[in-house]
Subunit: 369 residues, 2 copies
């Protein structure tokens, strides 16, 4: 093997993703490649769909992993559902909701935003006000904002849409597999995620799920989806039905990895997995506070899997991150946008959320400050 590859350090991945990968997921990645139309591979695809439905808590038949990273999942939801001139309301309190506005605008949507301070959650009353003023085809929010560590009240926001024709798009890139995601109960019409966060699979796939209402909008579009690669009206014929139609060549080995990663989560049990994230998040926060540092987000809105810690006065942001990476082989994340230089982002995602990792990190951070 190329020497660069042979000598890769095993890093404790405690940033905003990718997260640590379980040994059996690594093994799955290197199982023998099958053809993308092989019936044995189609059985594996069926297992993946079934297990994704459990994770998303949905009966949606269109529940599949897209052949791209989490951002391709975002692109998929918007490009399939936005038609030129659609009114789209996006609730912005971080980088990933900002990205939504860029994606939707490029597709010809009329985008309105409501902005909230970074590090604080969306305020449902402000959303209610805006919805009473104007009709929207789409309302979009990020469940777990990876740039700030805030959990947005997606269930409450969804309740505002009861009985309306507005479709509800939710980003669950960082939440899926770490906290409950119940898209049918919450009235979500289109959802996307990524594999490299709480699913603990390497980056490269984007699970999505569309409700029947969303499929109906897709099927009644005036124009074709302006993106052949992500057009779900064709992709569904590869992932569903008795006779599968070739669309593009699926990323076979990445899908093996996802299959195994989902399997591990379901074997452990969703509730146990969520409790484990919560438990080690609490241990981490306690340790952070013991070191005299502060969390960015108020306790009521904190995500367990993404912990934004305020960089204390006098600490050198990059120097501390470099010391952790070089001396302790631990990766943490820098702040993004207005939070650059102000916070560190400590991930406890999926396989990373374990006692020994919290201890090792707190010990290393103490030495590096």
């Amino acid at each position: 093997m190329h020497e660069q590859l042979e000598n890769i350090d095993e890093i404790l991945l405690m940033g905003p993703g990718p997260s640590c990968i379980a040994p059996s997921v690594y093994s799955a990645l290197s199982q023998p490649t099958l053809g993308h139309m092989d019936s044995d591979f189609i059985s594996i695809m069926d297992t993946i769909k079934e297990n994704l439905r459990v994770l998303f808590q949905t009966d949606n038949r269109l529940t599949v992993p897209m052949s791209g990273t989490g951002s391709a999942g975002m692109e998929t939801c918007f490009v399939n559902l936005v038609e030129t001139g659609d009114n789209v309301l996006i609730l912005v309190n971080g980088v990933f909701a900002q990205r939504m506005t860029d994606v939707a605008s490029r597709l010809g949507a009329n985008v309105d935003t409501i902005e909230f301070e970074w590090g604080t959650p969306v305020v449902t009353d402000q959303v209610r006000d805006q919805l009473s003023k104007k009709d929207y085809q789409l309302l979009c929010v990020v469940h777990a904002e990876t740039s700030t560590g805030v959990c947005n009240p997606v269930e409450e926001i969804g309740q505002l849409l009861a009985g309306s024709d507005t479709l509800y798009i939710v980003d669950t890139v960082t939440s899926l597999g770490g906290i409950p995601v119940k898209i049918d109960t919450w009235g979500v019409d289109a959802v996307y995620s990524g594999t490299q966060k709480c699913l603990s699979c390497p980056p490269g796939l984007a699970p999505i799920s569309f409700s029947e209402r969303a499929i109906e909008k897709l099927q009644n579009r005036k124009n074709k989806v302006p993106n052949w690669y992500l057009d779900l009206s064709m992709i569904i014929n590869y992932w569903e039905g008795k006779k599968r139609a070739y669309h593009h060549t699926a990323p076979v080995n990445m899908l093996y990895g996802l299959c195994e990663a989902l399997n591990l989560i379901l074997e452990e049990g969703l509730d146990t997995v969520f409790a484990r994230h919560k438990k080690y998040h609490e241990a981490l926060v306690k340790g952070i506070e013991n070191l005299g540092l502060d969390m960015l987000v108020d306790p009521g809105s904190r995500l367990p899997m993404l912990n934004a810690v305020k960089i204390p006065d006098g600490a050198d942001d990059a120097a501390v991150r470099n010391a952790l990476r070089k001396e302790h082989k631990i990766e943490i994340g820098a702040g993004l946008g207005p939070l650059a230089g102000k916070v560190w982002r400590i991930g406890l995602m999926g396989h990373t959320a374990r006692e020994e990792n919290v201890d090792r990190f707190l010990n290393a951070l103490g030495k590096s400050l």
Copy 2:
């Protein structure tokens, strides 16, 4: 590991891709995941870019693998270079050129096509005629048409554009790594490929390369690229320059696999690799003819890595393919479009192009007919 994954058969992949994977590429896929902004990972990205430039025979600085399969490479070239109302000429003699017309049309291009019989190559004189009648912003052709096994005269077609402003897009999904691809010499402005053909890496990445002229068109667009995920004006800032800017989370482990696959090709040497493809293609054709079967494509236009064999009278297309798969663990491809039921597609791509595989296949086909 999930039992479906533990028991995957090792199949001899002799279809239109994916192809067989070398053991060290499988090992590379399961090396420890690094963060997508980690300096060790950025070194691996740099190696990949350098090696892709050798494969494409180019000095283009914008030479990177996109985070999607080969079809995402096609989408990338069109979505970055097509502006609404552009005149686009597409030379069609198979499924993948047809796909180009669909992709370009969805992006608002005025698409003209010249159609050639499937199984025959593009006729350069007809292209010259059409170019004399109308100005085109883009001229597009598939080098190695995977649906028919035809090699198109991409060098000659490129010569028609000397001194013109027309940008030249070439699909090298199946040709790259199997026959010479010299994009600078041929005057190609945008090229894309896939990993699962002659590069012998699992599907999931799409190497692309853009000339300076193509980058100039991208930078002078009237509107933003209508696809955030594939917007090269942002992606270049992640793959190039001293300070890398986060765009999306790169598919880290897939890139390890690609790095190793490129490494193997360059270690063997490009000329040796091309000669190997030619040698075992000739052995295959001889064996096919000894069995009394005929090739679809005339010898002068045949691809070495994709061999379309006419299904003989009396043979049951699906039954023969099933027997090969079930009894002999060999995958071959069915015909597509107008060639469905009329040809089998036998791949000799990358690691698959070896004597023992040709022998095993010919023996199995003889028994299955």
